[in-house]
């Protein structure tokens, strides 16, 4: 029998038992739907995490002061005063693979502008900060190297600070008083939202590091040095070279512990993407189990169908059907079941994913790959689990089949 004929016979047989066919397909529908929905949600979540991490700055390495030991009490990382502006300059000059270096020093202060005031953190840095953080002013401009050199009293506001101090706008050009020192607002940063760790990144004021050290903090120690590597591949070598350079500059003996520590955002990024990866694999595994269960359902119903239609098989054999004809008839029927289930499953999956996006507000990403993979898998399930019943049908003895009641 030709393909069109086989398809027609299979289709007729499925339509005749429409309700049973639907129940049989349910396993496949749920399996395929689960694959598509879970992959849409998983991939959406992964993309969101990646985007968030990308906002932290690409290839970012953070050098912070080490812990300090005073009278046997070991304080946490950053407690020690060990990093100076010279360290930042040296990293920029001597470590290969470095793109930008931004020294960071910060303090908390009450900022006042007109009738408004706002408690925020004030960060002192250099213009490299823009490149390291991949963060540009939305209005006005960032300060220049010349302004850093001269210790100019200029400030760039985070979006949150701007909203609180200048609710009606007009921040750029106005004056902000920080710790009794008037600063001129020259720019407002793009709103960046919360960091991956829940901190409002827009709640800060950026000023030249020289201005912070001279006028607000009165000391020269750095809170951190942000270093960005030229490429993700360079991160590891930049980390080790920076460590070696700082040990040399701080004149540490070989046995002395580091008085600083070097941290790497890429590690966090890798961990996050590994987590998302494990999650998608887990979901895919559950979906695969569901598809296999669906396949067993198909096999079960096909075996029932072969038994029910034993006489039909006998008639077909008597009028000249070969083993292959009978095999193909039942195989095509099983595959038609699983493919129909696959198609309905794809629609259910897309619907469920869109529903989740609309209802729970989760980011989703329906990938064509997930649709293709789950549909192909469903079809293969039909072949795999339809083969045994079809094989059994084709091996029936025509005489006994004809005698079957």
């Amino acid at each position: 029998m030709n393909t069109a004929g086989l398809l027609r016979v299979a289709f007729q047989s499925l339509v005749r038992n429409a309700f049973r066919s639907l129940l049989t397909m349910l396993g496949i529908i749920i399996g395929v739907g689960a694959v598509i929905t879970s992959m849409a949600i998983g991939s959406g979540a992964q993309a969101a995490v990646q985007a968030q991490l990308a906002r932290l700055g690409s290839n970012l390495i953070v050098v912070v002061p080490g812990s300090s030991i005073t009278g046997g009490v070991q304080l946490g990382a950053g407690a020690r005063q060990s990093l100076k502006l010279g360290d930042a300059t040296a990293i920029q000059a001597d470590v290969p693979g470095v793109a930008y270096v931004a020294p960071i020093s910060s303090t908390n202060a009450q900022a006042v502008a007109g009738g408004n005031n706002w408690a925020t953190s004030v960060t002192g840095t250099t213009p490299s900060w823009v490149s390291v953080e991949s963060w540009n002013p939305a209005q006005g401009r960032f300060f220049t190297d010349a302004e850093v050199k001269s210790g100019a009293k200029v400030a760039v506001l985070g979006a949150t600070v701007q909203q609180n101090l200048f609710p009606s706008g007009g921040a750029v050009g106005s004056s902000v008083i920080i710790k009794s020192v008037p600063f001129t607002v020259i720019g407002v940063l793009e709103a960046k939202g919360q960091s991956g760790f829940g901190r409002d990144q827009d709640d800060q004021i950026i000023v030249p590091i020289s201005a912070l050290q001279l006028r607000l903090n009165g000391q020269n120690w750095l809170g951190a040095i942000f270093v960005s590597a030229q490429s993700p591949d360079a991160v590891a070598s930049v980390v080790s070279s920076t460590e070696a350079l700082l040990r040399l500059r701080h004149a540490l003996t070989p046995r002395a512990p580091d008085d600083f520590s070097v941290r790497n955002i890429a590690v966090v990024q890798q961990a996050a993407s590994a987590t998302a990866d494990v999650q998608s694999r887990l979901l895919a595994g559950i979906a695969a189990v569901s598809l296999i269960v669906g396949g067993i359902g198909i096999m079960n119903i096909m075996l029932v169908s072969v038994t029910e239609r034993t006489r039909e098989i006998g008639i077909r054999m008597a009028v000249g059907a070969r083993e292959r004809d009978i095999l193909m008839q039942f195989l095509v029927e099983a595959v038609a079941l699983s493919c129909a289930g696959g198609i309905i499953g794809v629609m259910v999956g897309i619907g469920a994913a869109l529903g989740t996006a609309a209802g729970a507000g989760w980011p989703i990403n329906i990938t064509p790959t997930s649709i293709v993979i789950s549909f192909v898998f469903a079809a293969l399930v039909g072949v795999a689990f339809g083969f045994y019943p079809a094989q059994r049908a084709s091996q029936l003895n025509p005489i006994e089949a004809l005698r079957h009641e």
């Binding site: 004929g5 039909e312 077909r316 009028v319 004809l402």
Partner: protein
Amino acid sequence: MNSNGAVRKDRPPVIDVRDLHKTYRVGAEDVAALDGVTLHVASGEFLAVMGASGSGKSTFMNIIGCLDQPTSGTYLLEGDDVSRLSRDQLASVRSGKLGFVFQGFNLLTRSSAIENVELPLTYAGVRAEDRHARAQRALEAVGLGNRVNHKPSELSGGQQQRVAIARALVNDPSLILADEPTGNLDSHSTQEIMEIFHGLNEERHITIVLVTHEADVAAWSQRIVTFRDGQVLDDRPAAQRASTGTRA
């Protein structure tokens, strides 16, 4: 042989079986269902097979119909040895040379009359348009040209059996095998069905082998073979049927 124009002596016999044996293993014992049957059926003959149940006539029909194979002996169908073929080769023989009519009609209940009649042609690889035309002609030949789209459940027993005959006829077989074709029918339908068989044999020279319990039905044939205990007990020309008047 009778004075009948249908028999063609110039062709090889349609059925030429020699020393046919068929044994079944039941538990530890071998039971001989056929015990040395030798029989020739010439092209165009109308043969009736009679015998009690267990006489071996069903086994004989299954082997003649290429549904089963003998344990030993040979079966030449139109001169070709078909006693040692594979399952698929037997299927091809059934598809090309044989037509079956069963006691229980054995139609596909959910398919229309014409779909049932087309079935052998589908497996013979005939193109869809040709299938349809040939099935239509076969149904017209059995007087059901106006019932082609009826399902078996919408037809009487006699009509269903006529659909089955059309199905047996559609692939222009050399041999039609009918296993108690009137067993489920009333006397009126029996008459109708036997007239069709008679006509096919008389006008189209199709060889027919028909199993029956009923002497009336056997009387439509030219020759009656009686089985007992797996052997041919009796082989003689049928008595003349005065009632039909067509064959004397």
